[in-house]
Symmetry: D2
Subunit: 264 residues, 4 copies
Amino acid sequence: DCPLTLIAGPCQLQSADHAQMIAGRLKEACDAAGAQFIFKASFDKANRTSISGKRGPGMDEGLLMLESVKRDIGVPVLTDVHEIAQCAPVAKICDVLQIPALLCRQTDLILAAGETGAVINVKKGQFLAPWDMANVVQKIESTGNRRILLTERGTSFGYNALVADMRALPQMAQTGYPVVMDATHSVQQPAALGGSTGGQREFAPVMARAAVAIGVAAVFIETHEVPDNAPSDGPNMIPLDQMSALIDSLMKFDALAKADPIQV
Amino acid sequence: DCPLTLIAGPCQLQSADHAQMIAGRLKEACDAAGAQFIFKASFDKANRTSISGKRGPGMDEGLLMLESVKRDIGVPVLTDVHEIAQCAPVAKICDVLQIPALLCRQTDLILAAGETGAVINVKKGQFLAPWDMANVVQKIESTGNRRILLTERGTSFGYNALVADMRALPQMAQTGYPVVMDATHSVQQPAALGGSTGGQREFAPVMARAAVAIGVAAVFIETHEVPDNAPSDGPNMIPLDQMSALIDSLMKFDALAKADPIQV
Amino acid sequence: DCPLTLIAGPCQLQSADHAQMIAGRLKEACDAAGAQFIFKASFDKANRTSISGKRGPGMDEGLLMLESVKRDIGVPVLTDVHEIAQCAPVAKICDVLQIPALLCRQTDLILAAGETGAVINVKKGQFLAPWDMANVVQKIESTGNRRILLTERGTSFGYNALVADMRALPQMAQTGYPVVMDATHSVQQPAALGGSTGGQREFAPVMARAAVAIGVAAVFIETHEVPDNAPSDGPNMIPLDQMSALIDSLMKFDALAKADPIQV
Amino acid sequence: DCPLTLIAGPCQLQSADHAQMIAGRLKEACDAAGAQFIFKASFDKANRTSISGKRGPGMDEGLLMLESVKRDIGVPVLTDVHEIAQCAPVAKICDVLQIPALLCRQTDLILAAGETGAVINVKKGQFLAPWDMANVVQKIESTGNRRILLTERGTSFGYNALVADMRALPQMAQTGYPVVMDATHSVQQPAALGGSTGGQREFAPVMARAAVAIGVAAVFIETHEVPDNAPSDGPNMIPLDQMSALIDSLMKFDALAKADPIQV
């Protein structure tokens, strides 16, 4: 059981410099704490609540930014795909292709992602039970790809609210694949601000720690130097200058959890 | 306020003959009852629970079947789109383009659908509040298209279950657009059979009647001559031979509701 | 299949005069519309959100008020019981003893109520499934009492919110006992105002009509001449001067529903 | 910040010998691990799903059993109260009076419990938001009693299911009172077996560890030497012979959590 991986970065790509700045800071913190690190950022926010929400630089420009992070900072990179045609070009640059939660039932997108041979991280839909992810896994496996990650990011709980069920982590692990806790999306309040999504960033470290104590392969955290200025997901992101202490803390719980795994 | 419209048909297209048989039977029943009728069927079930679920004939073949229904039975037709590239060819044949519930936040698909100028029926995502549909409406309106229908088809309620909130009907009506009650999908039990979705078809007439009494523009019902043999959604479909009595009954409630509208 | 019964009155008793005024107005409206009528009011609100919420006149004084309504207005009366010791004295005056939703699992209270021989109306707990009420029914039946009503008043739906599931009405009817729709409590927003419960009174007629169209024995509605001045439940009560039109409207749907019952 | 307290015992009292056997085993395990210990058992299960569920020895006999545990094993004892009249006699023997989740809104019971001056442990209702417990706290504080514990035991999540929201722990801690995680009731499946409640005992250690890592004052666990033979709550109880290893494990996470508290 390897040490915890941090999958982190800003919600959306702003510029190559910005991406490298954040990736550099996070890599430094992970190196110091003994954590593995994958940089995450989106080139397109394809499902914004409102038509007026900022969407990002687009695939071509975004892939250049991600490539620069990979080359100059020397870390693997993850981004999400929204259409079949994006899978192949994204897989040329990125180590991990992510299927957004709302798209986790779209068979053709999942097959196209699987066929690239890249690692596929599927976020569990807010409308799915943890055990339903076994069906998603089978879709990916049908392509011959067995490099799969499954991510918990909260489940619908009434209107404009999510709840993260800790049972989902061992339940999804029963597929045999590594499980990721998305600590910042699971504290979102979907569309709670009317035209945009609210969030409770103060609870993201709570979710991260609980998951790490139970035992997960990775924690997913979105971060920004000034979350309230971020083009998306500000209310649930963790300020960049708090990440180093958070990673240090999580690594202590990870060491304990890996030494004392829970049998479910 | 026009009389109720029935949007109905089999879940997925099987053949031109089969589609015409069902469309013919439903048109006859609607004509007899004084209801308007739109034929519905899908050419591709793009989000089946399992990789082994049957998906339908595909777009090219499916559009030929829908065109034959339109021409030979003389009714407007509706089908759902899953990718941007499908919108234009589908709009050449179909009167109504439907955005599936799981895709109701995918901005580019909604814009592409809106730009065809066809009527757009958006199903409310199982993860959305009724009032969140105002944001979806704005996305469509940004294309200049104001021919919009909004459909209630249930909201996530714990795992593998949905609940249909009757408040959603007047709440979505506050957008100013016609509201549709999907009586058969709202009694689905998502993935409840493990590799496929369960359903409580016995409650579909309950949902339909409640909605019509409150006042809706249309009711959406999937039907099949032998639901248990249907390639998808059998557990929640209404047998075709029960549709005529159901339509008759709904029209009586519709007449009363249209004569005595509830003010919210 | 008798015509619809209205169970209605203010949330809590204020005075004999006030109770009689409301009972008189409601009886008049029900007589005019051909509805049956049972007067409802509470002598103690034993589970207020906050310690500072007003609770009512208490049992002794409250029973005198209810007795005066029964005698002077000539209608059956219903009130709720919260403790075993209240059952016998309440049953001396009241025709119907009501078990509050939060207490619907308290075995001894249910047995004590059942043993009075009065009609028992049990509200389905916000934490129970409709089919779980079969267990509650068996508890009452164990006392030999088979005069039972079962009421839907909403189910927990995330935090500070309820949803009324229309399937609950036919599901509870499968016990063989009459089912009641509580149209005003099912639009409550529990504790949503911090120290008190909010509500969406504008949706109460929606819930009432949907239920009547499906087919119920009775509708339960709380009303007050000035809801915003009522000592409790103001946000979800219907103004008294709107009751007559509402009853008239519901009776039309009741006639149609009773002539055309849904088979589930 | 004191070390973790374990509140544990069988769901219902069976005999003095049985209670002492379990209390003795748990005390030994807690002493060895450096945990504090409070023995828990119920003299009456007053809200069984079904009329045929076993209820326990009753108050008089039960208090004798609890007294024997207190005297012979030398540990504090906790039991739950269901009626006002039980509060004073229970407080003569027991160190902690517990308000059952379904009764947490019953004002008079809470006041009567508070007035005994004993420690009051209130379980958050399955129908309440965590922040709603501030209102319950104020009710107890109105009696002058500030010896309060607040327990998370899961929230309604669709029908026949609960979910434990980890945010509830820091949210309830904002009242200033110690928070308890009930690891075994939060994995119940209410009434899921028809006439009785199901459970997922395999997830109880998951809930306990997640909560301890976040930081709680105590963990509440029901246990039995042969859970499947227990008169109630068998499906969610942890076998007694697994408790020692579980306590040891939790204490390691507790030490880490207390040394590195999360600020919310």
